[in-house]
């Protein structure tokens, strides 16, 4: 090899503790990635403000569209009093939780699903000649603040549901709500990334990813009691979207697990989130490596 493989930085003196160096570099990269993401996202926000009317209309449109999802549930409740053993307020809690998590993940990196398009247009190549982590660039690209519409609607439903459910609120339960939102968002972030990473292999099949993102959110807006037990196990251990809202909600709503699964699952959302993130990270890295050796 003509070039040095590890460029020793022009630092002076021997490094006192060599072990944490890669860790420190990872930390630095992460911090820089977030910062760069912020810078890029800010540019897109400014773009959206240059078309103010259109921005306002699109945001309201998003709010309206997603609100109809909930109206559909309300219409169902015009015909029944309970669904899968859960009342309207409880289902609103499930719906609000999953929809808010999806909304936040969608805001943060929803445009990642256009990766295939970017590869075809050559803009992905342009990102590769910038000193910013690729993932941060892809996530921030065409950052769409109008997605706040979905978030606002979901947050409103969740707030209403939290106030309406018949629950003896303890500190633990109350803290579980933001915890649910955080873990659920992370799970959807990982699923979005996985779906996008698949586009390094097939760009035409991007619609299949929708089955997991939007499908995952639709699926978890109902109590899982409406699905067969095999499906619930699959949603716990294979495509773990049950951890987005179902398991934390069982704890918050003070419900025993209807399928008799261990109560520990109700606190395992971070584990599911972490596992999915590792998988997504691996898929992304493998995908980028593949792209760099095939150029397509």
């Amino acid at each position: 090899m003509a070039s040095p493989t590890t460029r020793t930085a022009p630092s002076t003196g021997p490094a006192p503790t060599p072990a944490p160096a890669p860790l420190r570099r990872l930390g630095g990269n992460l911090r820089w990635g977030f910062r760069a993401y912020g810078l890029l996202a800010l540019m897109w926000i400014r773009v959206s403000f240059t078309y103010r009317t259109s921005f306002v209309l699109l945001t309201l449109g998003q709010l309206f569209i997603t609100a109809l999802d909930f109206v559909a549930i309300v219409i169902m409740f015009a015909n029944v009093d309970v669904l899968g053993g859960f009342g309207l307020a409880e289902i609103a809690f499930l719906y609000g939780g999953s929809s808010l998590c999806l909304g936040l993940a969608d805001l943060a990196l929803g445009n990642i699903e256009r990766l295939g398009n970017r590869i075809r247009m050559g803009t992905f190549d342009a990102m590769m000649v910038r000193p910013v982590p690729l993932f941060a660039q892809v996530c921030a690209d065409e950052f769409a603040l109008r997605r706040l519409g979905r978030i606002a609607q979901a947050a409103a439903v969740l707030t209403w549901a939290t106030a309406s459910v018949d629950v003896d609120w303890t500190v633990g339960r109350a803290l579980m709500v933001p915890y649910l939102v955080a873990c659920g968002t992370v799970i959807f972030l990982a699923i979005f990334t996985l779906g996008a990473a698949l586009q390094f292999w097939t760009t035409d099949g991007s619609e299949a990813a929708n089955a997991f993102t939007y499908g995952g959110s639709t699926l978890t807006q109902y109590p899982l009691t409406i699905y067969p037990v095999e499906a619930v196990k699959a949603l716990t251990f294979i495509v773990p979207v049950a951890f987005v809202n179902w398991y934390p909600a069982l704890y918050i709503l003070d419900r025993p697990d209807p399928f008799g699964l261990p109560a520990a699952l109700q606190f395992s959302s971070p584990v599911a989130g972490l596992a999915l993130c590792l998988l997504a990270g691996l898929a992304w890295r493998t995908g980028v490596r593949r792209y760099r050796s095939t150029g397509s």
Partner: protein, 315 residues
Amino acid sequence: MSLIEVTDLSRTFEVRRKVSRFRREVHEVRAVDHLSFAVGAGEMVGYIGPNGAGKSTTIKMLTGILVPSSGSLSVAGIDPSRNRVELTRRIGVVFGQRTTLWWDLPLRDSFELLRRIYRIDRDRYRRNLAEFTELLELGDLLDTPVRQLSLGQRMRGDIAAALLHDPEILYLDEPTIGLDVVSKGRLREFLRTLNAERGVTLLLTTHDLQDIEQLCSRVMVIDHGFLVFDGSLELLHERGGSTRTLVVDLVDEAPPIDVPGAEVRKVEGPRQWLSFPAKASAAPVVAAVAASYDVADLSITEPAIEDVIRAIYTR
């Protein structure tokens, strides 16, 4: 060591071809085939070849976008395939036909973002911006949204954007494509200054032989993944025996024009095509024609790169 060093570089792709409805055949295509060359600091090199010859594959490997199949390369002492991100600070890339500027925001905002992304310190940024603004005549355009700029103005903006972080090497992909004659001239003038005053090494791919003629002391021609020529432009013309064509529209039909230094290739009514050596000046030919014929219109077409390359091959 040279700034860019390429040794025995190859890149193969697997291409799946449909043989029948169900069977696909995988076969290997060599986009770049055992390429070796070196570019010294401060050189201006034209990298030419027909579409699909391996030009962009080479550039993608030099910028770290693609990893080579075999061989080694080093750019500014860095292995692009391993340290792509580190390399990005040392190089500038301009993609001719698509802009990397923010379409809906003023030019200045794109520059400001790049300052932060490349972490350029303020003083240096201010100096560079002032210099490029003057040289590229961007002054009035800085506060204009990019979408309102003409193609030429946008290209100037893109080039300034690629240079703000003081790269040692600038890759330009078809920088003058679609520009009018005046814009082309200005751009070339700027690139010459850039090279002379800052010592920036330029590697440009183009279909416009005039770009090469006016900018590059050295030409590399790639075809089918092979480097078929590496040398001066004069040598290329000599080897390729390329010619330019003078298209003459006479007022009336006439027998083939007879002037020294040019020969008639084609006659079609009052229009005649005369060819003359590419390196010879057009002026004496034009003068000779105008002196002895009633000319309605004249135009000169440059030799196409494809023709020159074909000529190299047939030799």
